[in-house]
Symmetry: C2
Subunit: 248 residues, 2 copies
DNA sequence: GTGCTTATCGTCATAGTGACAGTAAGCACC
DNA sequence: GGTGCTTACTGTCACTATGACGATAAGCAC
């Protein structure tokens, strides 16, 4: 931050955009919202929803605007956090674009709207989106991977999984959310114990439901904890965690 | 990412800068590198080192350039990672500046260089820098707080603490690094056990040293682990961890 | 009621932790 | 060369958390 550097006119314009890794669990799948581009570059390729930041617009505000535009989700029931910023000089073939990526988690996957300029918008299983077959535009493959890893990781240490459940949910529903996010089965009995023991993770409402058959299940609401103690850990640790992904 | 939005000329120029939260432990203190501004805005106020991103320059590259300019540290022995991006519309009084903050950890705190436009550069104890007395420029107070919290947190789950030690170090030296970073005393015996049990955190070199008096201590080198298992946890969890800070 | 489902509680061996006792091995000083 | 100082390291113990899995509870269909 030097005198010369702070003279704005001396700098070439860089564009600042936001991109959204919007995740949802539905029908037993982890889905990400993708849009199909209607123009060059990467015309007709699938991409993360995103767009440029307005002049007087905060970054998160820009991301939320996109969220409202493309995803049929309730912004009130949506968790959103900044993921990372991607600014390789050549990531956009036309001009320099620095993109601030946001991770969003929401419950309802209503049919999405193809926003302006997009010719399609769909919830796509993360497995498909991450496969090489799809070849997302720009560096969106990397952004998506980082976003998914961040979400998986946050499931361990925070109670965000509850935003992917309804306002009232059973332990089994919460467990299935974890199973879908982590792509691994969890022991129902141990999960039940950990989730009910973790400090103020979930609170019983008093009600019960039989919507999955079998013995009636207690209904719970999200508690007030912002961090899980003790945390719920994945098997993992021997796995794909690369150094750069460990951002806490 | 729509047609209209991807036409660069239709957008007002936003400036993109990088800011550096450069931390170091020296003389038993956790220090952050600050520069004193030589020009408006915030003239003569202390700020994090930073600067605008060059047209063909990657974000991390820009941050590393600043690191080399202002801090007398060996880039090879420096850990650097992206922290977060700050883009509130009014964070710079003159024009819109979106700043990508980087966290850097380095071992040697040589006397820093006041870069171009800065009239001074100093290693300042983090406690002083975080106190309201100093009133850092822009939103640098927030960035600093986020950076310090990230560093403290990464000490729990990754072996980065070793970059703040020499190439060979004793368990006690590593422990003091943790104590300084976390601002809390750790039981030497338990710390020793945990650190030597954690998978490939540190490896004995075979040598010993008596540089701190007493019984000769084993010397260690950093192992190859990228994540600590099991992790070293702070007391914390009941503490200042706000929801937004829990980014893993 | 029988048999199906799912929910929930209990048990047990094992791993990790904080607190802290005890031992090892240098050095300074006499 | 021993005494006492320092710091390094090993060990113990009670407690908590965990994975694996057995057992029981409580609905529904027939």
């Amino acid at each position: 931050m030097t005198t010369s550097h702070y003279n704005p006119r001396r700098h070439p314009p860089l564009e600042v955009a936001v991109d959204l890794v919007m995740l949802s669990v539905a029908q037993g799948r982890l889905d990400v919202l993708l849009v199909r581009r209607g123009a060059e570059p990467f015309e007709s390729r699938w991409a993360l929803p995103g767009g440029f930041v307005g002049e007087r617009e905060g970054l998160e505000q820009a991301a939320r605007r996109r969220l409202a535009q493309e995803a049929g989700v309730d912004p009130g029931q949506t968790h959103m956090e900044q993921l990372a910023t991607y600014g390789a000089p050549e990531r956009d073939p036309r001009t320099r674009v620095v993109s601030v990526a946001y991770l969003a988690l929401a419950r309802l996957a209503l049919p999405p709207q193809a926003g302006s300029g997009a010719i399609d918008a769909r919830w796509v299983p993360v497995g498909d989106a991450e496969s090489d077959a799809l070849e997302l535009a720009f560096d969106h493959h990397t952004i998506l991977r980082d976003g998914v890893e961040r979400a998986r990781s946050k499931f361990e240490y925070t109670p965000i999984a509850t935003v992917l459940c309804g306002p009232e949910f059973t332990v089994a529903e919460l467990r299935r959310t974890y199973e879908i996010m982590w792509g691994q089965e969890l022991d129902p009995r141990n999960f039940h114990r950990k989730v009910t023991n973790a400090e103020d993770f979930i609170r019983p409402t008093g009600g019960t439901t039989t919507r999955h058959g079998g013995r009636p299940a207690q209904l719970y609401r999200a508690g007030r904890a912002v961090a899980l103690y003790p945390p719920l850990l994945r098997d993992a640790h021997g796995e794909s965690t690369s150094a750069s992904q460990i951002a806490r």
